[in-house]
């Protein structure tokens, strides 16, 4: 058993467990903590895939910034235990088979792909700064316009939220 395979399965299991916990937990803050676990486990998987920059950014942006805001809002509003309803009929008779189908479908394609193989035998783990440099060239030259357009979009969203919040009643 080599170490990358072992690490891959540990973090994959952690990610899946976190995702399940996220859905099943009844306290909002438990769900948030489970989501943080998913984010961190995903970052570790990126690291195993040989993308250290993406892994670091994943933690800084998602686990470090966005989830802190989630936790902050949950604490601020003091959100209580979520209420459960019985299963709706649609979920029972349409959702469950569809979910199973999706799972099988994904499993089928995963079994046929080569990505899993490269990760598992560790040849994907090429941690170089070169990849960061290439990524920044792509972002700031080839995809300059979409990149800047996205940032302006986010800025507009922030301004919109400010305008809505500051509006006189």
């Amino acid at each position: 058993m080599n170490i990358p395979i072992l690490l891959f399965f540990i973090f994959a299991l952690l990610a899946v467990a976190g995702a399940l916990l996220l859905i099943l937990a009844r306290e909002p803050i438990h769900s948030a903590v489970a989501l943080i676990l998913v984010m961190v486990a995903l970052a570790a998987l990126y690291l195993l895939l040989g993308a250290p920059f993406i892994a670091a950014v994943q933690i800084i942006v998602y686990a470090g910034a966005i989830m802190v805001l989630f936790v902050f809002v949950i604490m601020l509003l003091n959100a209580g235990v979520e209420e459960r309803t019985n299963w709706s009929k649609v979920a029972k008779y349409a959702g469950l088979p569809l979910g199973l189908f999706l799972l099988l479908y994904l499993g089928h394609w995963l079994a046929r792909s080569f990505v899993g193989g490269t990760v598992a035998n560790g040849s994907g783990a090429l941690a170089t700064a070169q990849s960061t440099r290439e990524l920044s060239f792509l972002l700031f030259q080839k995809y300059m316009f979409p990149f800047e357009a996205t940032s302006i979009l986010i800025l507009i969203a922030i301004l919109g939220a400010l305008v809505l919040a500051k509006r006189e009643p």
Binding site: A56, V57, I59, I60, L69, V71, F72, M75, N78
Partner: protein, 406 residues
């Protein structure tokens, strides 16, 4: 055994982790002593005095006290998160130390060449910020899970404060990254080697071209570590003790240790990014400086020997005698020809870090606490624009070719 033989790196890393943890935890303990002594002298008091000579055994006594106190959990608390929070805070704070390079020298552990760092990765700066950015959960979750008013307010304040100042701290560092053209700690430090062209006696440390970035960094760093004058999350005049009001016994001690570990990390980062890391401020041709660490320790030993003779209590004599022996022993070790070049890097690095830690304590002894709205407007309306402008100016500097890259 076969597994170990195949992966010697694991064993070497484990050895280094154990050594670093031992050193870090001892330093943490004595940092509390250092802080209490310095603050006491600033305020014309004596500080810890009775446990051991000069209160030197005070950290030990505190540790024992924390271990044997009753560990209370509020009945309405969220048990799992209540226990998780201090562990998260301390383990994340200690993890960041794994990324810090303490010196350039290659040492041999069990016959394997290895660097004076646990995880030598080329994206060191990014990973350090990644780990510190999730450190806030320790405080936030502690505040929430205690299920009590004051901790909740403290946790809220701390999350808001950390989000606000994290932006500034990251932006203030980008200027240095632009100058060095790398995210690797070793390359950033090597980039600061040598002296300025026109001022050949000033080392090429990043603090000179990035003085604005440095001031922003050190301010935001104090806020990030929740220290005076930005210690709003635990403002005792308003919030009893803030996020750790409900914590007792060793869980409280863990928060305390996490705070000091964060102080050390932030000081290490400031040393690496702005003050040339392990580089000596003096020219390489001054080879006699290799004797400096040993000589300083021997001088310390001489002073403690004099102090030992001055003590009247038998126990105090015993303890100071031990310190004297330690200083003489390590000092002599540092003078050995094989050891001298190896400890050069760590010596300068730790000296600079100690200076930063002293600065931390000094601010604590001097400055009053901010009000909460002042803290927020300071962070967003002053610190953020200034660090942004600094980044813009540095980029423009490069763009118009006023400095050559590398």
């Amino acid at each position: 055994m076969e597994f170990i033989a195949q992966h010697p790196v694991l064993v070497v890393s484990l050895v280094k982790i154990v050594v670093l943890l031992f050193v870090a935890l001892t330093t943490l303990a004595y940092l509390t002593w250092f802080e209490r002594k310095v603050v006491a002298h600033i305020q014309s008091r004596w500080g810890p005095y009775y446990v051991g000579a000069h209160g030197l055994l005070q950290p030990l006594a505190d540790g024992v006290k924390f271990l044997f106190k009753e560990d209370l959990t509020p009945p309405q608390a969220d048990k799992f998160l209540y226990v998780l929070a201090p562990f998260l805070a301390l383990s994340l704070a200690l993890t960041t130390l794994a990324l810090i390079p303490f010196g350039p020298a290659t040492i041999y552990v069990l016959g394997h060449p290895t660097q004076l760092v646990i995880a030598n990765i080329d994206l060191g700066v990014l990973f350090l910020f990644a780990i510190t950015s999730i450190g806030v959960y320790g405080v936030a979750l502690a505040g929430w899970s205690s299920n009590s008013k004051y901790p909740l307010l403290g946790g809220l304040r701390s999350s808001a404060q950390m989000i606000s100042y994290e932006v500034s701290i990251t932006l203030s560092v980008v200027g240095v990254l632009l100058l060095a053209g790398s995210l690797d700690f070793n390359e950033i430090i090597e980039h600061q080697r040598g002296y300025f062209h026109y001022l050949p006696f000033i080392p090429r440390w990043h603090v000179v071209p990035q003085i604005v970035g440095f001031l922003c960094y050190i301010t935001a760093a104090i806020a990030e570590t929740n220290r005076v004058p930005f210690d709003l999350p635990e403002a005792e005049t308003e919030l009893v003790a803030g996020f750790h009001t409900e914590y007792s016994s060793f869980k409280f001690a863990m928060f305390f240790m996490a705070e000091y570990a964060n102080m050390i990390t932030v000081s290490c980062l400031a040393t690496i990014l702005f003050f040339g890391g392990w580089l000596s401020p003096f020219p390489d041709s001054w080879t006699f400086l290799q004797f400096l660490p040993g000589a300083l320790l021997l001088l310390t030993g001489l002073y403690t020997a004099y102090d030992t003779a001055r003590q009247t209590r038998g126990m105090a004599r015993l303890q100071l005698g031990f310190v004297t022996l330690l200083a003489f022993g390590i000092g002599a070790l540092c003078l050995l020809p094989g050891v001298r070049p190896v400890i050069q890097g760590p010596f300068w690095f730790l000296t600079k870090v100690l200076a930063f830690l002293f600065f931390y304590v000094w601010t604590r002894g001097t400055l009053p606490r901010f009000r909460y709205d002042q803290l927020m407007s300071f962070g967003w309306k002053l610190l953020l624009p200034v660090s942004l402008l600094n980044l813009l100016a540095t980029s423009a500097w490069f763009l118009y070719g006023w400095v050559k890259h590398g």
